[in-house]
Amino acid sequence: MTLGLAAGLILGLAAAAFAFDFPALSGRVVDQAGVMTQASRNAVEAKSKDLEDKSGIQLVVATVKSLQGSDVETYANQLFRFWKLGEAKKNNGVLLLVAPVEHKVRIEVGYGLEGTLTDALSAVIIQSAILPRFKANDFSGGIERGVDGIISVLRGDAAEWQPKPKSPSNDSLGVTIFVILFILIIFVIIVFGIIGSRRSGRNAGRGGRTIFAPSGGYSSSDWGSSGSSSSGSSDSGFSGGGGSSGGGGASGSW
């Protein structure tokens, strides 16, 4: 019940926080401004999918028609949080945002990747890989080079690059088992209680009671659980995993 209340509150908050009219997260490349070629869109999608399959990192490229009067930092951060890129527990998402009209570009990095894809490295990628091509109006080329740069930096971190089993499904399974066990234990207590009370005349000593077993400290503090555990197993239903960003990354303009 509190959960519902809190969720309602958070939803209200979220609605208040996102004053922008964001494009929908239709895939790994959201080319709202229409500046990329089909070939390069496909190439970036494939690279991003490969990255997520290997490391769980969600890398999304977005080009927008307008920043809606905001600065690129604020817009990128809000869009990142709106799309919830990266896994909820790891916050391992990256957003490459391009605003061709405002001549702004930003790499927004989720909390969990700030240590790998640092502000300084993001700035280097923007300055050396992206901006020279944007200046020549080659958006496809700039974005592809930028994505290559981001992926190569992320690949440098060995721990992140290890193939991992999909964790979200395991997590939700664990929660389900926990809930079922919990209900069972309560049920058993009640049944034993009733039996115990019926036997009250007889010698049903204290031994017949079940004691609340401490159920191994499983903490289900998965605050992004309301969203999706579909961590990009197929591209048809691509969606954010519940990650967030605190403004890491770098911006540039041309």
Partner: protein
């Protein structure tokens, strides 16, 4: 056994009361309060992170532009003042304290802006790799500060609203009568803009 029945009854009552109470928003106020406090520590951490970058930045600039003594000293002094003010989460209800904190940090923002402005006229400094890295880190930190502040303001707004709206106001006036609204972190317009760095 009677005792077992009465125990079950007691448990049932506790559970029932717990559910009713939580449905009425009893938990909302402490939850929001803790959230706002956590957001505040984010704000402070990010400011601390900026302060930690400054000695390195000053040292680098000094190597190329030692004659800009006034600007460098201003930054060092502003940093010293800003790092002296530390606000414990329990003091967040005091607008004066928050204002003092914001003023000190804004003074540091201004001093840093001047430092970056004068460094524009030193081509060797501008092309120094260390300086460039520090600049992008500083920019990133200023942006993180902006995000952390926005999150804090949102959290405080939610908390203050809960203290004044139904049904949580019932708890605010009774059980949590000691809870005061937290101060919003307002700053003069423009001071939250990170110093613009042009490459």
């Amino acid at each position: 056994m009677k005792s077992i029945v009465s125990r079950i009854a007691a448990v049932a009552v506790v559970v029932a009361v717990g559910l009713t109470v939580s449905a009425c928003g009893y938990n909302t106020i402490p939850t929001l309060e803790e959230q706002a406090k956590a957001r505040w520590s984010d704000v402070q951490n990010q400011y601390q992170r900026r302060a930690d970058l400054i000695p390195n930045l000053v040292a680098t600039v000094q190597g190329y532009a030692a004659q800009e003594k006034n600007v460098l000293t201003a930054v060092i002094e502003a940093r010293a003042k800003a790092t002296q003010i530390h606000i414990d989460p329990s003091q967040l209800t005091d607008p004066e304290k928050l204002k003092a904190f914001a003023d000190a940090q804004n003074a540091l923002t201004g001093a840093l802006g001047r430092l970056l402005a004068v460094s524009e006229s030193y081509p060797d400094l501008k092309s120094n790799a260390n300086f460039l890295a520090l600049q992008s880190q500083l920019e990133g930190t200023e942006n993180r500060i902006a995000v952390a502040r926005r999150d804090y303001i949102e959290a405080v707004r939610a908390y203050n609203t809960a203290l004044r709206t139904f049904p949580t106001v019932l708890w605010a006036k009774t059980v949590f009568a000691g809870n005061k609204p937290m101060a919003e972190f307002t700053a003069t317009e423009g001071s939250e803009k990170p110093p613009q760095v042009k490459f």
